[in-house]
Symmetry: C2
Subunit: 282 residues, 2 copies
């Protein structure tokens, strides 16, 4: 059955890939992104071109998850056009890496905003409609760090994703009485196929007397931490198997085909875990 789907952070990475895949399977997909007339105008044009060429219903929509007003406006637009929202995908996120102590509290707060408060803004905009429908699905793109994966030097991101995962579980139990289901997708670590590492932030401060590994992690975008901790290398092909699995998990969840693997609250919560990318070598 055709679904009305909105996915945040769809200007790149998982967001773009999942939006296209979902549109291909016959759904109406709103690809949320900010600054659609400026920085992301090329992404809007690309989405339109893709929709035309492939005869799919993919629609870029202005949706800055850092702004309540923007989220509210996007949801109003979708409801005015389609009168319903079936699936909300919380995909937008941002990462920083560096030693925990080197990040300012403000930087931690910023990561919390983009990864967690963003979902709260979208939920408060969209959930009244889903509750009114007594039906819907909320998909959260979490992180393997919230389920045991622990690459080094990602503490502000991991803290935020742990919070997002916790919030998803809270919402799952609170929303089930409205007929709204929840699925948490847990991608493994990966370094290519999205811009996650390429766009990652870094600490504004430098910790004195920290091992040289930290500066190395900045000088070589493909190396995180020292050899004593963990190294990463490029995946081949350009979208590694893990990214593909993640997109698959998102699209399966959106189609209601997610296998319940972990913490199956009856009828309400599913969690999909993509295995760690094989391109991470200890």
């Amino acid at each position: 059955m055709k679904q009305i789907i909105v996915i945040t952070g769809a200007s790149s990475g998982f967001g773009t890939l999942a939006a296209r895949r979902l549109a291909h399977t016959g759904h109406t997909v709103y690809a949320g992104m900010r600054d659609t007339t400026g920085r992301n105008a090329p992404q809007v044009a690309a989405a339109n071109k893709y929709a035309t060429e492939h005869h799919v219903d993919l629609r870029a929509i202005e949706m800055d998850v850092a702004s309540e007003e923007s989220c509210d406006a996007a949801v109003r637009q979708i409801i005015s056009e389609e009168a319903q929202i079936d699936v909300v995908v919380h995909n937008a996120g941002h990462m920083s890496f560096g030693p925990a102590e080197a990040f300012t509290p403000k930087q931690f707060a910023e990561l919390y905003d983009i990864n967690v408060l963003s979902t709260q803004r979208v939920n408060r905009a969209a959930l009244p409609q889903l509750r009114k429908q007594h039906r819907g699905l909320v998909i959260w793109v979490s992180s393997s760090s919230a389920r045991g994966g622990t690459p080094p030097y990602l503490s502000p991101y991991f803290a935020a994703k742990a919070a997002m995962d916790s919030l998803a579980v809270s919402y799952a139990s609170e929303l089930t009485r409205w007929g709204i289901e929840t699925s948490i997708v847990v991608p493994g670590a990966f370094t290519k196929g999205t811009n996650h590492f390429a766009h990652a932030g870094s600490p504004s401060a430098v910790v004195t007397r920290w091992p040289s590994a930290c500066s190395e992690s900045r000088s070589d975008s493909e190396t995180i931490g020292s050899s004593s901790t963990m190294r990463t290398r490029r995946c081949r092909p350009s979208i590694c198997g893990n990214c593909a699995r993640t997109i698959s998990a998102i699209t399966r969840a959106a189609a209601g085909n997610t296998k319940r693997t972990v913490v199956p609250l009856p009828g309400s919560l599913t969690i999909s875990i993509s295995p760690e990318c094989r391109c991470i070598i200890p």
Copy 2:
């Protein structure tokens, strides 16, 4: 061996109780609290009186964990008086309860600040000294919600504590190379013996068409959620077994006597889990 210990949020609850217990066992304990000449002047007087009457080394210190300057000043004072810090206890925290959707993003951010950014401020103030010493212990008072416990209607608090727990794990692995150990204490749910529920925040917004259980949760301070979810009742005696176990876990950890029960990173991380309070009835 006598330790120099600083514990945050020591004006009440676990903080006060753990500070007193640790002072009794022979340590020098700095009981961090804000507004020591105003709102918490009575708590300062109480700490001083307690120290005099029991001949213990318990010292109230101005330490507002919402302020980098205050955290820095407190740490400077401790180092100027004792030239070392052996144990840092991240105990300060605040809770809110209500349906997730009813909280504004700003309220989520405030809970993150008091429960997580607070620890980052204290760490950035204190860790340079601990790294300089090549020795120390950081104790994090987490929440059972981060390890599977899920009472309802506490989403902003649970999200923050999940982030704090994640941050503790990140720090644990990053600090072990400096000889700094980490212990995460995981108290179960409890409703008395501290002011946690009495002082809890609530949403600024009311979700329309939400079941009446939510308003009930505000009208009866002893009832959270509806009978279909979970009810709480008073513990007897006034400090329930669970609170006592938590204080015991903090003091054991501070004394280096914590049994490694979960995720024992070699030599660096211990996690103590207090069982759920028996005063929670499903």
